[in-house]
Amino acid sequence: MNDMVHEQALDCKGLNCPLPILKTKKQIDAMQSGQVLKMEATDPGSVNDVNAWTRRTGNELVSHSDEGGIYIFYIKKA
């Protein structure tokens, strides 16, 4: 998949629940509305968790993909 345009990137590879969500939240808090964060994780649970987190917080999960065990999320700050 082609890399989407994003303002910030966050590497959560190797981290387990709930760290990918906690780190994503911290990073998104420091961003401007409309900016996109690219987050990469290897925790398979992060797929459902990121979906739940974005639904709850109103931030937009623009796309996510599985690149051979690495989950890539693009999240647009509300």
Partner: protein, 169 residues
């Protein structure tokens, strides 16, 4: 957004395995923009001490898989059969099992209890220490990390009554 959701937890246990759920849920709920209060009572109160000494208790948890956090994967996958009589009677067994468990958590990218607690404090989770337990165990407010409130059942229930989620852990 509308009125934030609220979550009220009671943390009543002080072993390492039971220390995780309240701090994981509290930090994640805060990340999901909920207001969170955790009431620490009985053995759970030790989780507010500056230095957390929580251990696992294998003798009372017969379902605990005993695995080695080092060596080739095939070796790490072995579940070592540990008779209860051994776990209960060998001095230092809990300490050894605790360090193996902590190493496994580290290998698997799981945060430490201290990290999760710091994140809770940073994200304004209300940590309430039980006054009665402090009296019973002889703890002082100075024994606890900064930012701990002290209260009793009514303090917790006032928050819990307005909460969407209430869990006893």
């Amino acid at each position: 957004m509308s009125e934030p959701k609220k979550m009220a937890l009671i943390a009543s246990k002080g072993t390492l395995d039971w220390a995780y759920p309240p701090f994981i849920l509290a930090s994640t709920a805060a990340a999901m923009e909920m207001e969170v209060a955790v009431f620490f009572t009985f053995y759970g109160l030790t989780l507010l001490k500056k230095d957390i000494k929580a251990k696992v208790a294998p003798a009372t948890n017969p379902a605990m898989p005993m695995k080695m956090p080092f060596g080739p994967q095939g070796f790490q996958n072995i579940e070592w059969p540990m008779p209860n009589v051994l776990m209960g009677n060998v001095p230092g067994f809990e300490t050894m099992a605790t360090s193996l468990m902590k190493q496994t958590f580290k290998n698997k990218g799981v945060a430490t209890i201290e990290e999760l607690r710091d994140i809770c404090i940073e994200s304004d989770v209300k940590l309430i220490g039980c006054q009665m337990t402090m009296d019973v165990f002889g703890f002082e407010k100075d024994d606890f990390v900064d930012g701990v409130d002290i209260g009793g059942a009514a303090t917790f229930l006032e928050f819990a009554a307005e909460s969407d989620i209430q869990l006893f852990i």
